[in-house]
């Protein structure tokens, strides 16, 4: 059987990997590669779920891991890539906040997350508790991506990163919420993305742009 030390070590590596992919999404201007990075991130999350399931013997986590891999690592990236190709919008040309600055803000958010979550992490005595601040940092990063980018696709991506963060938090803190809830969330998410796809398409048709700031004007 694995030692607890080895388990934590691999788990930590995976969580940092997830965080780094979050930063990479901030880094890249190319929408397609951002979507691919998101796929990698989800794959890492799935691996993390498998790893925890393997260690704790929580069988339902295998199912959830499979779902994550199938929906978030494959289906959603495919969908989003389709939107990008169809709309012919490939790069985030000028985000609200410059790439260099937003990377620094991103690193700052990680510090904030660490600061905020440290008491929580200290309060639990799960072997996974150290990675909790990283999961929370993912939530903040996701929010930050959503507010700092102009293109609708990136904003969806930000929302998805946020969702990944919440999922990671759940997996780390409670070894996964009940399966049925999780499945429900995934279904919602999937449908949500489908709706967003349609919406983005419509926005593009109406305004000939997917920059969301064109929606600022309330009168139609």
């Amino acid at each position: 059987m694995l030692t607890s030390d080895g388990f934590i070590r691999i788990l930590n590596l995976l969580s940092v990997g997830v965080l780094v992919t979050g930063m990479l999404i901030l880094w890249r201007r190319s929408l397609l590669s951002a979507v691919q990075i998101f796929g990698v991130q989800s794959l890492l999350l799935a691996l993390m779920a498998v790893w925890i399931a393997f260690y704790t013997g929580a069988a339902h986590l295998y199912l959830i891991a499979f779902l994550v891999a199938a929906i978030k690592a494959v289906a959603i990236p495919v969908l989003l890539s389709r939107i990008i190709r169809r709309l012919d919008v490939y790069t985030e040309i000028e985000p609200y906040i410059g790439v260099a600055t937003s990377l620094l803000v991103g690193a700052g958010l990680v510090v904030v997350a660490y600061f905020v979550m440290q008491p929580v992490a200290d309060a639990t005595n799960l072997p996974t508790h150290n990675a909790l601040p990283l999961a929370f940092a993912m939530v903040l990063l996701g929010l930050f991506i959503t507010v700092s980018r102009k293109k609708a696709v990136t904003q969806i991506l930000g929302f998805l990163v946020l969702e990944n963060g919440i999922f990671m938090l759940a997996v780390l803190a409670t070894y996964g919420v009940p399966t049925i809830v999780e499945i429900g969330v995934f279904l919602d998410l999937f449908v949500g993305i489908l709706i967003m796809e349609v919406l983005v398409y419509r926005i593009n048709q109406t305004f000939e742009s997917v920059d969301t700031h064109v929606l600022d004007e309330l009168r139609g």
């Binding site: 070590r9 930590n12 940092v16 790439v99 260099a100 660490y114 990675a131």
Partner: protein, 315 residues
């Protein structure tokens, strides 16, 4: 370690950096040529170049001052000095207690400082432009270097190179810790920026307006040029040695016997070949980025280095 062994190791370190750095450059050039479908220059081309430069006269601008003549020698000596502190095949560095990794980084900065001054010295617009850009990149790369070095020394709990290598080498668990890997990623980026490789700077460019490092040395000729070029190669060699040995200290000799030295040398050669292959490959598939996109790259490496430190405290 007795003094004879110390002295011998120091001499061998110097010989390695002087002798092997042109080979490393040649290796990268040949690999790149292969990837571009060419045969490429002969193996010993850098040596031919050096020998030829040393045989030529040196033309110095009328405007230039002693700084211009002094810089190549200073650079050369700085690189030699750094070579005494960088692990190649053995961790038993004779002068390790004289200064650690911070000293190395500041001697690199010293040579950059003077090179930038010599770029300004001739009054040529190209030189000034090169200096300005070089200092911009150095100023932005410096924080990442410091933070990456900080991460390594956190993991190994030392800033002295020998100690770092010994501690990391004795516990492979330390190598696969997030801090170490993130610091590695950050260090890779600053290595590229500091040694003037693609996508930050193009070492083979002929257009002055796209130059960074090359623009500063446009005025050098003869023996000065030989020294500047050789120093640049040594800098690349030293950075790659640091990169490979600090982060993957496998096979670095930790005892004073011939067998481990030989094994260390062989493994070191393999590591450098891999690093050279990676550089050649990257330079083939990447294009140079605009100079004002370089800060994004470096900000990224800074963020990664910061993450490395945070993850050390968190995890």
């Amino acid at each position: 370690m007795d003094y004879v062994a110390k002295f011998l190791i120091a001499v061998v370190q110097l010989l390695i950096v002087l002798g092997a750095s042109p080979v490393l450059v040649s290796l990268i050039r040949r690999l790149k040529a292969r990837l571009q479908g060419r045969l490429g220059p002969p193996w010993f081309q850098p040596y031919y170049d050096l020998a030829k430069y040393f045989q030529k006269e040196s033309v110095v601008s009328e405007t230039a001052s002693w700084i211009f003549n002094f810089t190549p020698y200073l650079q050369f000596v700085c690189m030699l000095l750094i070579a005494l502190f960088v692990p190649f095949y053995t961790a038993m560095l004779p002068l390790d207690a004289t200064g650690g990794i911070i000293v190395i980084m500041y001697f690199f900065l010293l040579s950059t400082f003077f090179l930038a001054l010599s770029g300004l010295d001739t009054g040529s617009a190209f030189g000034g432009m090169g200096s300005s850009r070089e200092m911009t990149i150095a100023a932005l790369a410096e924080p990442t270097i410091i933070l990456a070095v900080f991460s390594i020394s956190l993991v190994a709990n030392s800033t002295n190179i020998s100690t770092i290598i010994l501690r990391l080498g004795s516990d492979y668990g330390l190598l696969f810790n997030p801090t170490h890997l993130l610091a590695f990623a950050a260090f890779v980026i600053v290595t590229i920026a500091e040694t003037g490789r693609l996508p930050v700077d193009n070492p083979t460019t002929h257009l002055e307006l796209t130059m960074i490092h090359e623009a500063m040395i446009l005025e050098y000729s003869g023996r000065h040029l030989a020294l500047v070029e050789w120093s640049a190669w040594m800098k690349l060699f030293l950075f790659l040695s640091l990169l490979t040995n600090l982060f993957f200290p496998w096979g670095v000799a930790t005892s004073l016997d011939l067998l481990s030295f030989v094994a260390g040398l062989v493994i070191f050669a393999v590591k450098l070949t891999l690093a050279a292959g990676a550089i050649a490959f990257m330079e083939t598939i990447l294009a140079k980025v605009r100079i004002f996109r370089v800060p994004e790259l470096l900000a990224g490496s800074f963020a990664i280095a910061l993450l490395a430190i945070i993850s050390f405290y968190v995890l």
